[in-house]
Symmetry: none
Subunit: 182 residues, 4 copies
DNA sequence: ACAGTCGGGACAACCCGTTACT
DNA sequence: AGTAACGGGTTGTCCCGACTGT
């Protein structure tokens, strides 16, 4: 009955995510997080063994979702992978919006976390490029990644479905060399 | 007598840029920079009054270039501004590649610097969206910003001209709602 | 149902003695002890009001034995006290071997404990010196104390009887100024 | 006009030695040392990279002297080594009296220091036992070690020459099985 | 109901070491 | 060469709820 887990732990995670996103990982001290929640720093470190552990726990669901997405994409034939990759990534980025913001600006720190051993970002770029190894294809794939991530991080706040559609269609247009330019 | 090696001041700026990009602004200490160049911490602080000043000086040319670009764009009629904005931003991002990488991951820190009082990024988004206030247009503009910035930061290393063309054409495709989508 | 394992309290004392001897008093945390035994730190502090109390309880039997020894020695005439003191101290050191090790390296901490108000060590030195106040006699008495204590702490592990004999005879030789030297 | 007071670095070493001997290594904080000398903690850490480094530097001369003694002893024939070892060790212990006190009570910490890679104590015991591997001989050697160390640490404060003679003759008596016992 | 036992959660004070800066 | 302020992390200690067996 009711929530089984203690609230403080979740409060701490929530506050950490908020502060990390605003001031950055290094820019946020354990004291900041504790003060925000209203508990002592020692209490914080009772729940999480270290600052890095907080980041890990914060990013782990996102990493897992990304891994699952990559797994799903790996099973698809080449001609279907692009659309699926775009849709999958856009949905993931919208679902873990703040986490993606974090990853964008704290990439260096995040990769030290054991959660991101095999960088899911690189695998995703591979699929977005329709498994092509051609440099122009890879460049466009990186652009898609950046477009979606930055839009989620800094873009305007539209309703979910509208944002999803806009981002998916724009991203597909980026990847279609046949479409019209100027 | 000709200078045998670049003056210390320039060496320090170069080393700072390199280290900031790799370890982040807060992740880099004054000691790190001094050690990298091989001079004393006191010498460093003789040339730059504070750590923040280094970041400011590092970003100032980029900010100035962005301001000039925005000035130029402001003089253009609505139907020409999109193409000009895209081409201008891509060229700027390529010219100040490492600086843009820094800005991307240290946005919070950078905005504290007096150089970026009136965020040139926001103005640029305004122009990229062809001065439209419609949210979908602004969203696409942010996507272009992210696409170009991330591609410069993490994308593959292609020759200048090839990279420029690819990025410009892809960005224009993003902004053209008439082109083919799903 | 007979108790399957020794009661928690005794387990804690045993673990404390072992850990104190290896890592030192300050080098051992309450968490270490609790973890070693497999109970919570709070449980530990239910049985012992403080860390110092553990040390006190650990050392109290040794202190009591030393006091009794001193009492016994006090009743002896001067010409018998040396042999009795040596034999008594050697046996005591062997019986409380690990405790003596602790006392040797944590003397400072131990003396803060109320158990050791009137240092039994000083009284023992007095007896070992055959109640002489001459400095050379006192010096030799301290040497005996150190010899036996260090041998118990760091020396080889011989059978009880052999160790006892060796230590007693060696100690008596130390105290006999008439015996041959260089 | 000669320097009015010793340079800060030496003051710090002196204060560290004094405090370590009284309160123990772990019982002494960097703040304690800094306060004792009257400088800031950061100043302390400017001169010594860590707390462990202070201990290392404190013990290094003693370790070197012990190594030299062991080297000298190694070159002696078996029948001369005992006397030389005793005299050498006594003189060393008197010369580095406070350091030996430290080693006696902080053995665990000291052995972590790189200065004491190959424990000079074990080598010294080997020589004091006249290179015998017999357990009783080794036991007596440990007793000598303890006797001298503890006498220096806790014994009365006699003039150097008197103390030296007393300790040497007593130690030799310990090691001579032929001398009178029970 | 009640004393004895145990543990999850919390905290003040402190630790060693680093930072930007003088 | 020197420092104040802060960094992350650990210490010993404690509160209070939840189990025993009686």
């Amino acid at each position: 009955m009711g929530r089984s887990r203690p609230p403080l732990r979740d409060q701490l995670l929530e506050a950490s995510l908020r502060l990390f996103a605003v001031r950055g990982y290094r820019g946020t001290s354990l004291q900041d997080i504790a003060t925000e929640v209203g508990c002592s720093k020692a209490s914080l470190l009772y729940h999480f063994s270290s600052k890095e552990a907080i980041l890990g726990e914060l990013l782990s669901p996102t990493a897992q979702a990304a891994d699952e997405l990559n797994e799903r994409l790996a099973a698809l034939p080449d001609d279907q992978v692009t659309v699926a990759a775009v849709e999958g990534f856009v949905e993931l980025a919208l679902r873990f919006r703040r986490e993606v913001t974090l990853l964008l600006s704290e990439a260096e720190e995040a990769t030290k976390t054991p959660v991101f051993d095999k960088s899911p970002g690189d695998r995703l770029v591979h699929e977005l490029a329709a498994r092509s190894a051609r440099e122009p294809d890879r460049l466009r794939a990186w652009m898609v990644l950046g477009a979606v991530a930055v839009a989620c991080a800094s873009g305007p706040d539209l309703p979910y479905e509208e944002m999803r559609e806009q981002m998916v269609s724009t991203a597909l247009r980026m990847l279609d060399p046949g479409a019209g330019g100027a």
